[in-house]
């Protein structure tokens, strides 16, 4: 049983790696891209996530995110409810980068699932509001980006983000021009503007992460949002997130 699982994971891993070879390193969109023709959205189906952590690894590789366990553009959380215990137990060892070693005795678990997290690319983003120089901004196709050549590194946006989606790119990080500026998920803007999926979506072996264009009437993400009961994180804060979750409890935040 275990060996088959490992085999499947290995195959999925190879497939994921092969797709990553398409990785486009340049951050700017292509010239003939029209950002008024798209409006992106993201769906996370937590009922499918197996906590393999491939998305976390792909993201770090694709986006030159430092490998230390303090910097993440995306991470995966494990939410566990134990029998006879109030409230959830949450953990995310190394952001889920190495997967999740078993932690609880299966007999005492009442329910558990994984919750992949990333920037919500809010429609009313507090991070954009508070940036004193306008280095972080909303694109017309619905993505929140940071201009690393402009960011002064005041970190107000990091404080303002209710989801912990931002971090300060360390001064010894691999990408020199991004050092000491705020960094976060871009939905792989360099890929999506060329018609590819974000790296985390591309490598997800179970389709727990879905990325789509709401302006496309046949889009899977659009259909899910239109027909299913989706949830966003911390809706009371009025940030209007554009990452929609399937199958989470209201305690998940």
């Amino acid at each position: 049983m275990v060996s088959r699982r490992k085999l499947l994971m290995a195959i999925a891993g190879l497939a994921g790696f092969a797709s990553l070879r398409k990785a486009v390193k340049a951050q700017e969109p292509t010239e003939n891209y029209d950002w008024t023709k798209h409006y992106y959205s993201f769906v996370v189906d937590t009922r499918k996530c197996i906590g393999c952590g491939r998305c976390v690894r792909a993201c770090k590789l694709e986006n030159e995110v430092p490998l230390e366990p303090f910097y993440f553009r995306t991470w995966v959380e494990r939410w566990v409810w134990l029998k006879n215990e109030k409230g959830p137990k949450v953990d995310s060892p190394n952001g889920g980068f190495d997967g999740f070693p078993p932690k609880y005795d299966e007999r005492v678990i009442s329910k558990s699932y994984f919750v992949p997290k990333l920037c919500n690319h809010c429609d009313r983003p507090p991070c954009v509001q508070v940036c004193p120089v306008g280095a972080t901004y909303k694109t017309k196709d619905g993505v929140v980006l940071v201009d690393e050549k402009y960011c002064i590194g005041c970190r107000y946006c990091i404080q303002a983000c209710p989801y912990g989606a931002r971090y300060l790119y360390p001064r010894d990080g691999p990408r020199v021009t991004r050092r000491n500026t705020a960094d976060k998920c871009t939905w792989c803007y360099h890929r999506i503007t060329r018609g590819y999926k974000p790296a985390c979506v591309e490598v997800c072996p179970v389709g727990a992460r879905k990325f789509g264009d709401l302006m496309d009437p046949d889009d899977e993400v659009r259909k899910i949002i239109e027909t299913e009961r989706v949830q966003v994180l911390k809706p009371a804060l009025g940030t209007l997130p554009k990452v929609y979750y399937l199958g989470i409890d209201s305690e998940v935040r």
């Binding site: 910097y71 952001g95 508070v130 120089v133 402009y150 002064i152 590194g153 931002r166 300060l168």
Partner: protein, 400 residues
């Protein structure tokens, strides 16, 4: 930095978002509101005499203004030192993003420095500066001649209009000082993502704690100046300042109490995390240093001093003790807001810790340097522009 984060990671408790291990606003950001608070508070002391006609505090009027200036000159230092890209600091004024509360910093700061403090000081000192420019020689004389800005008219008419200008500027200055610091409170109070910060009371709490710290600082410097100069203190002035310190303390205390009462009574999401924050994570800096040593003890001391059972000599020591505790307590308050708010995770399920490095950027050493700098500037300013009430040489001549 990264070595410290590995240590911090060992001490993380519960679940925090992985990006929250690092406390992004360090001790420097706690120092910044502390310094602007001292500026605003010192200015309010100065305006007591000018606007509210509290004649008793006149001996500290100019001293308070110079203190405000010395600290204001240093206020941007912790901010700029903290930036990831200090070389881009001016972008905040060149290309401000107006929806951001922080974008106004440069303008609020410049307004307060240029339109309020410098103008008030210039017109208040103008007559003296002209006299010094005419009597002093060498470099000092040259500095005074520059400071006159070429205007040597000190006739009755001119000095009268100087006085009028100072009064007007003080009237503009008082709300400006309140705004300068209330604005800093708003930067924190408006962060809805952070339950420990987010509160409409935050600007007002910042303002009153600013008054507390500013009055305490001016009082302490005034007492110290008496020692340094070997001069008897003006009893009335000292006691009056201490009284105002007490009044602002009582307001400050009730505001803080309202804030906490609201938090604990409404019991919104995250209250359990805040309870742990107060009673465990911030036990020493909040309950012991800020609330007990930094608020209750000074209030008790100031009330005791008011009873009149102590002689002035004893009262003086009570004031020294109370103001020192106040200055420590208000810094603890800034610490508890700035650092405390980042120890608590936005998941409400865990806590990180803050390790203050001794050396390097955002370290204790840098913090101390920035903290000592205003005192050095103040010493130079006091030498250059003596704020004391003694009659000047030329006034003595006039009196004879």
């Amino acid at each position: 930095m990264s070595e410290i984060l590995w240590v911090v990671l060992q001490h993380v408790q519960g679940y925090i978002y992985p990006n929250e291990v690092e406390v992004n606003w360090s001790v420097l950001i706690a120092l910044y509101p502390y310094i602007t608070g001292l500026v605003a508070g010192a200015f309010i002391v100065a305006s007591l005499e000018r606007i509210f006609k509290v004649e008793a505090v006149k001996p500290t009027y100019r001293l308070a203004l110079l203190t405000a200036l010395a600290f204001l000159l240093c206020a941007p230092l912790p901010l700029v030192a903290h930036l990831g890209h200090p070389e881009r600091a001016l972008e905040i004024m060149m290309t401000p993003h107006l929806s951001s509360a922080m974008a106004g910093f440069g303008f609020v700061y410049a307004w307060y420095l240029m339109a309020v403090l410098l103008i008030e000081l210039y017109f208040d000192y103008r007559r003296d500066i002209v006299m010094w420019a005419q009597t002093e020689r060498g470099i000092k004389g040259f500095i005074y001649r520059v400071l006159t800005l070429g205007d040597y008219d000190i006739g009755d008419e001119a000095t009268k209009s100087d006085n009028k200008i100072v009064n007007i500027v003080t009237i503009i200055g008082l709300p400006s000082a309140a705004f300068l610091h209330g604005y800093v409170g708003f930067i924190f109070g408006s962060v809805k993502a952070n339950h420990w910060w987010s509160s409409p009371l935050m600007p007002i709490i910042f303002l009153f704690s600013a008054m507390v710290s500013g009055i305490a600082l001016v009082l302490l410097i005034y007492i110290a100046s008496g020692y340094i100069r070997g001069i008897e203190l003006d009893k009335d002035c000292t006691d009056t300042l201490a009284n105002y310190l007490l009044y602002s303390y009582l307001l400050d205390l009730s505001l803080e109490f309202m804030e906490l009462a609201q938090l604990f009574y409404t019991q919104e999401e995250g209250i359990d995390a805040i309870r742990v924050l107060i009673f465990d994570k911030l036990f020493w800096t909040y309950l012991v240093i800020q609330v007990f040593l930094g608020t209750l003890v000074p209030i008790f001391l100031l009330i005791a001093a008011r009873t009149g059972i102590f002689k002035f000599n004893v009262r003086k020591w009570i004031y020294i003790f109370a103001t020192t505790l106040t200055l420590i307590g208000v810094f603890a308050m800034r610490w508890n807001v700035v650092i405390g708010g980042q120890l608590i995770s936005k998941t409400y399920l865990g806590y990180t810790i803050y390790i203050l490095p001794l050396f390097g950027p955002e370290s204790l050493t840098l913090n101390l340097v920035i903290w000592i700098l205003p005192f050095i500037i103040l010493a130079i300013l006091v030498k250059l522009l003596p704020p004391w009430e003694d009659t000047h040489k030329w006034e003595k001549a006039e009196l004879e």
